[in-house]
Symmetry: C2
Amino acid sequence: MTIDQLDVRLVTLLTEEPRIGVLECSRRLNVARGTVQARLDRLAARGVIVGHGPQIDPAALGYDVTAFVTLQIRQVSGHVPVADRLALVPEVLEVHTITGGGDMLCRVVARSNADLQRVIDLIVDVEGVVRTSSVIALDTPVPYRTLPLVAAART
Amino acid sequence: MTIDQLDVRLVTLLTEEPRIGVLECSRRLNVARGTVQARLDRLAARGVIVGHGPQIDPAALGYDVTAFVTLQIRQVSGHVPVADRLALVPEVLEVHTITGGGDMLCRVVARSNADLQRVIDLIVDVEGVVRTSSVIALDTPVPYRTLPLVAAART
DNA sequence: CTATTGGTGGACAATTTGCCCAATCGCTAA
DNA sequence: TTAGCGATTGGGCAAATTGTCCACCAATAG
């Protein structure tokens, strides 16, 4: 919750050059190594930093097409079993339940427009899904980022 | 493009335990250290792994509300200047141009529903934005993930 | 005033890294 | 078949980094 200037600089530094270690961070930020370690532990403990895993680019794997699919689901069945089934489809990257009667929004990728049809068919086949509506992402002028948010959240 | 079993195991391992180093990876996967280094370099060179930066949870920073905002923009102005302005708003996490007449889709976060109104007002004020339509994400049964996709992409 | 918290600077052994090398393996082309 | 060629292996080396201590200082809260 309470993020200060040093935290912001630390996260920014690590985002821009993830390969550097704790010691190098402390040198760049002109603080003691123990401070950097303590800050990182604190940010991880608070849940601000959820992980350091490798970030994968689906496009580099051949999944050039990104689409957002809105699902209308049968209300009686509930959304949990639907989400569980959707999770089984690798091309479904994330699923949200959204405002409105039993609707869900999911982000999917596919190898081509034709392949997108296959993926959507998989989704439609999920028990409880009544109807889908898709929009294709043509371009991504602002890729996912959180750095500006972190900077804005500083105390 | 060509991802084999070892790549998948490597990415999976690093995703689950990002703190471990190259040497530890080689031990877990029963391969030589040089192999792991070579694979990581290759994946990075191909653009499959785009980074290792810290992943930030907006909710831990107090931004509990996530929403997807569809924008209708004035077609004459083009979407580039609009995207540039949107990029100046920290709460806008990503922006896509989508199919349909001059539309854009962006993911935004806010501290509360009331705060979301403020963010949306910021977006509406952007030159070229004609109208907006928002859906709020109530829950995220499947958080963003790429591991299943990586596994599916293996040769 | 005093206990607590966060930062500093230093120390230490153990581990890991970056980089080199020669040998081997599987596969492809001649 | 044979000659390459890329990938992998196993090893070795110095240098850097890590994890983990410690004592000390400054600001803050009670």
